[in-house]
């Protein structure tokens, strides 16, 4: 497997270092050749930087990609936004040789060159395509059989598809495959692909951001989902933090929000505490409790084998 640099991104390192922790734990468990490299900046965040200055958006992303290009590494990130932004710029430059030359003219002056050769992948499609569901199944110690999990892909894991080529942009399957590989049921529901709405919090529209979170959480509560699993720090902020703020105001949903790396970590045998899940705003205990209860149940085949072996009863 090719070595790859992990692009942690600003949000995970600033607000959710425990996500970095669980990501490192699963990467170590699978003995994947990941590297930490010097010199990354913000990806940059599209909805902020691209709106203000398209040129700054392009050169910043191109510089980040150039860092891995030069080392001959690939890039993997547990943040959907980072991968989507980097891939968007790579797509734009690879499709426009003149713009690419212009950007490289600037990069040359700081001793860099963008070639656009590195593969840029989000952690979920990376685990699906490169590690593989089969290898994961072999490695896990305990599955989630009987657990009813709602998935939230996060828009930028799959879109824009021309740049990411990660999955079907309107009917994605890879995250579902991984969750099913872990033995859980992946619930199908109306708002499954709906945008989390966290972007509204970044333009001073907090109440509307809550409206968006509420729509999905209401449906999940009605379906009695055991958890919402996702792999994007923005979406995590929206559903964990904003759900907590709504609970403080007396609106209770009780939906634990679990990062993909944490779910996989639990299946690999790490404890919730080791994975840093005690740092969530919404308590994960109901999810863990139900998982315990399920594993305490007798397996369905118990007693069947004895009943089928030995001499027959009629003599």
């Amino acid at each position: 497997m090719k070595e790859f640099a992990v692009f942690w991104g600003c949000t995970i390192q600033t607000r959710f270092p425990f996500i970095e922790k669980s990501t490192r734990m699963i990467l170590e468990s699978f003995k994947l050749p990941y590297r930490d490299i010097d010199g990354f900046t913000c990806c940059p965040e599209k909805s902020l930087v691209n709106n203000v200055d398209h040129g700054a958006f392009v050169v910043t992303a191109a510089r980040n990609v150039a860092l891995v290009d030069e080392l001959g590494y690939d890039l993997v990130s547990p943040c959907t936004g980072c991968v989507s932004n980097l891939a968007t710029v790579r797509g734009e430059l690879n499709a426009n040789p003149r713009e690419k030359a212009e950007v490289n003219g600037l990069l040359k002056e700081i001793g860099r060159e963008f070639t656009g050769t590195a593969s840029l992948k989000h952690l979920v499609p990376f685990f699906h395509d490169t590690v593989g569901v089969h290898a994961i199944k072999q490695k896990i110690k305990r599955d989630f059989k009987g657990m009813r999990i709602a998935l939230h892909y996060g828009c930028h894991m799959i879109r824009p598809s021309h740049a990411l080529r990660a999955d079907d942009p309107l009917n994605p399957v890879k995250f579902d495959n991984l969750i099913r590989g872990l033995g859980a049921e992946s619930l199908q529901f109306m708002t499954k692909l709906m945008c989390c709405g966290q972007g509204l919090d970044r333009i001073d529209e907090h109440d509307r951001a809550l409206d968006f979170a509420r729509i999905k959480l209401k449906e999940l509560k009605a379906m009695k989902a055991d958890a919402l699993v996702l792999c994007c720090p923005s979406c995590f902020l929206q559903f964990d933090n904003n759900q907590f703020l709504m609970e403080k105001e007396g609106e209770r949903f009780g939906i634990p929000i679990i990062y993909f790396t944490e779910l996989l970590g639990l299946a690999l045998g790490f404890s919730a505490e080791e994975l840093g899940m005690n740092n969530h705003r919404i308590d994960c205990a109901p999810f863990l409790k139900r998982w315990e209860e399920l594993s305490a149940r007798p397996s369905p085949s118990k007693g069947i084998e004895e009943g089928l072996t030995g001499p027959n009863a009629l003599g």
Binding site: Q13, T14, D36, D38, T41, I110, C195, D204, E205, F212
Partner: protein, 149 residues
């Protein structure tokens, strides 16, 4: 190419379609949000009507419209262009300015949380590329200045 652009020909086609409308999360969930009205005004020469309007910031950049669009353009392109114009005129939400200032100053949107990292047993964060980034951004602006002269 390093400047934002808007393709009015594609937008003209866009104004006659609307394939993306019913999949757009903001169209479905925010009362009164309708990029078609913005596009109509842009094409009629009245884009200034929207510079101070909250609608142009309510596009979530989920790229659903881009995926639905048979021109592969999407009405997000119009909303992005309008946000850029609004920002240049100072009509942006306050948070945008705060985020931008932090970005150009530090090259990031926040610094690694060191005490929490230590508690979790995480390694020291790698060196940031802030200095190189600032050089690059200055070069970009220099080049723009030269072009303008």
């Amino acid at each position: 190419m390093l400047e934002a652009k808007l393709d009015l020909k594609l937008l003209e086609m866009c104004s006659k379609c609307g394939a993306c409308y019913s999949i757009c999360p903001s169209c479905v969930n925010i009362p009164g949000y309708d990029p078609r009205a913005v596009i109509k005004d842009i094409l009629d020469g009245n884009h200034e009507n929207w510079i101070n309007h909250s609608s142009i910031w309510q596009c979530l950049e989920c790229h659903f419209c881009l995926e639905m669009c048979y021109q592969h353009y999407g009405f997000e392109s119009a909303m992005t262009a309008m946000r850029t114009i609004a920002t240049r005129k100072g009509a942006h939400p306050p948070q945008v300015k705060r985020g931008w200032d932090m970005f150009v100053k530090t090259s990031r949107l926040g610094e690694p949380a060191l005490p929490a990292r230590k508690k979790l047993g995480l390694p020291e964060p790698k060196a940031s590329g802030a200095e190189e980034f600032r050089k690059l951004y200055a070069l970009l602006n220099e080049k723009r200045q030269q072009k303008a002269e």
